[in-house]
Subunit: 244 residues, 2 copies
Amino acid sequence: MDENELPRVLQQLWGIEGRSRPGPKPAFHISDIARAAIKLADAGGLAAVSMSKVAAELGFTTMSLYRYVDAKDDLYVVMLEHAFAEPPVLDPELDWRGRITAWAEAFRDGLRRHPWILQIPIQEPPLSPNQLAWMESGLDAFDGTPLTPQDRLSAMLLVNIYVRGTAQLTANMLTEPDEVRVADRLYTERLTMLATPDRFPGIAATLEQPLDEGYAGDFDAAEFGFGLNTVLDGIHTRITRATR
Amino acid sequence: MDENELPRVLQQLWGIEGRSRPGPKPAFHISDIARAAIKLADAGGLAAVSMSKVAAELGFTTMSLYRYVDAKDDLYVVMLEHAFAEPPVLDPELDWRGRITAWAEAFRDGLRRHPWILQIPIQEPPLSPNQLAWMESGLDAFDGTPLTPQDRLSAMLLVNIYVRGTAQLTANMLTEPDEVRVADRLYTERLTMLATPDRFPGIAATLEQPLDEGYAGDFDAAEFGFGLNTVLDGIHTRITRATR
DNA sequence: GCACACTGTGTGCGCCATACACAGACCATA
DNA sequence: TATGGTCTGTGTATGGCGCACACAGTGTGC
């Protein structure tokens, strides 16, 4: 009974094959759809992904996609599942901090490779194989700590949220690195103009500080690691309390 | 020169009035547009907001909106600006932790009141008055700490990201509290079915743990505060290091 | 009082997701 | 081996969307 309730996309992603059926053989597979859609999204953002464009990319008609996918949202699920392939293998030699850091960086790399992921409207919590594998991988990073399963979930989600959030901040500016610089400079200019020291002293103080070279280009690796470490320090405190 | 570059929406939001001009008086104001759009969004989510529906709500034609707003994205900016009015006044008696907690909770309340905010595709960093006021308010929470302006920005962003992220997690499920319960139970069922202990031991362990009553209904205040405290512990560690 | 910038409006375009009916392909069964 | 039913890809059609553009009327600065 439960199996029937599983949406078709999830059934296909988990490889729950229907028994051999009458009718013509399907001409392709959802993974083909995923590949075509990801290609379009990598090139032109999520806006470049439409049912008709994906179908054209595959050489089929728009409506043929609906034989594989119930709705556009399912297309997103399939794209997400294929964009994040296997989670990283975490070095068991490392402590929890090293492991979750590696996990976070791998996640970040994925988001950098496919920035359109951040544009996907999230409707439901993840249930597809690779998504669960990433979850599992993140939870496993806390093996050996005294954290309860619930605590591990919270901690993993915290890191997950942090990575997504920072990626969001940097991905606001468009894709081209040059454009990032320009948009950033323009933003700073405008902010300097609008955030006057009398009404916005805190913001003004931030702007007075000369930007580090490292920071200028992007919310780069150093800054990312710095913020991540703050989060991990918080988790560390929790672990210490749990040990006591 | 710089003023001319400012997008029209921002000019209007900052109250930079153009000199008195020829032609008919405008029939309404962007704040009317904001009110109408927010009303629609509160009732039916961001999907219920279209140029034509907003215009109809106001009793005007679709195209009239474009006399006030250059594009749909600007409409979002206006909605955001009006949905988050004044930031909370932070009690100066409190320490930084109390202040930033109050700020985070106020932010969270705003997101709860207008869940559609999370659906708005963020294209640019904020430059509108209330948005900057919230930024300022968040930065001010760290007054009296040894953190540098840059550190305060990072810390504020960290809290901001946390609140957004957790709100995102809970808002995935739809609006009705009952639906949350149902969706949550359904998710747990499916997860239990798919995340078998052999392949996903970490996830399975999380599921075995009986859910607290408090947790069941929602990612509620207690859980929110718990995660927030973890983040604040991390910031506390940074402050301690800066003091030393 | 006049020129002209500005107002709200009507029409129309191209794109989107997707409902539905259809003709042909193929397997399980007889 | 024949056949029924189910599945395939396709063509057509619908209602919505954001928005470009031309227009007639309005009101201010000169």
